[in-house]
Subunit: 195 residues, 2 copies
């Protein structure tokens, strides 16, 4: 009998990957997102830092893998901000909703929201990740003194839209067509960012 | 030795109140907010319906007691909607934030948000309560075909503001002065309701 291998990886590699993920969970949980380092995670897993980068990329990539984040707002949102300025709000809403309309993203996203709000261990690192990798990037692009507050106001409306539509399933926002919400919520984000 | 009595109620009354609360938890959990009736709760508790009303008032009052809701938006928000129309959004934000700045309300409110998002038993009744007693009342007052969607968009921004500020504690929205958020978020609610 042979052992079933996931994704056809050799067993040794799979063992290293698993140890790295476990080490990362502990490191992020104990030291937060900003305090965690790839070097410390590699040390806990008994591997070289280069192997962590080879398997998982950046610290943000590794964190996204560990927490099972279904979207990479840190990667996608800066690109969304680069397009025509007068429709940034609508593009952000459409990006988030079109992703969450996919069952796999929705399932993982709802879990992530519950973790973010309920887990005493993983909630602070997730907030740290969003502060650094998403809010920080938006803030850098806005170039106004109140940029960080503007970015978190956007986050508040997105979080509230996801919570009422996909977690609490409050009608009728739970059943509204994507484009209806793009038209209604988009101008809110536009105002928070630029007015 | 005497038994300590809470709030000085005679023991028999306290026992009835406790049985009514337990019966209500089961009734709301099994049949939802709309499906639950005072008559059925009284039957489960082995008391008369009049006693339930005497102790707890309406079904909404009883539900608020059972879930430990720290605010009564079903009671307060319709009054807020009655004032000058051009500042409704700001009044709603100020009402919610001034309440949550009080530690006791904040503590119970954060717990309620976690229950609302995490509990498979009490989440649907809470959504039912908000749909019927809050969204329904706002909708009745707005008198437009899309009133219910407008009301849930308001709920989405309020929920997101509470979640990012008080549960996730995402800076800088977590540290912003109340009047700063009144000025930024108020116009959003105003637009959702009336534009």
């Amino acid at each position: 009998m042979t052992t079933t291998r996931r994704r056809g990886r050799p067993r040794g590699e799979s063992g290293s990957r698993g140890r790295i993920v476990t080490a990362a969970e502990h490191e992020f949980g104990e030291n937060g997102y900003d305090g965690a380092t790839i070097r410390a995670i590699a040390g806990r897993a008994g591997v070289d830092s280069a192997l962590v980068h080879h398997y998982f990329g950046t610290k943000a990539d590794l964190f996204a893998e560990v927490i099972g984040i279904p979207l990479r707002p840190d990667v996608d949102v800066p690109a969304i901000l680069e397009g025509p300025r007068d429709q940034v709000g609508e593009r952000v809403v459409r990006y988030v909703l079109e992703a969450f309309e996919r069952p796999e993203v929705r399932r993982r996203g709802v879990t992530m929201i519950r973790v973010a709000l309920g887990s005493k261990v993983m909630s602070p690192p997730l907030v740290g990740f969003l502060s650094r990798e998403l809010i920080g990037r938006i803030t850098a692009r806005l170039d106004t003194p109140d940029a960080a507050l503007r970015a978190t106001l956007v986050a508040s409306q997105i979080a509230g839209m996801l919570v009422t539509r996909y977690v609490a399933k409050l009608p009728p926002i739970a059943d509204a067509p994507v484009e209806e919400l793009v038209a209604r919520v988009g101008p809110t984000l536009q105002r928070y960012l630029f007015d």
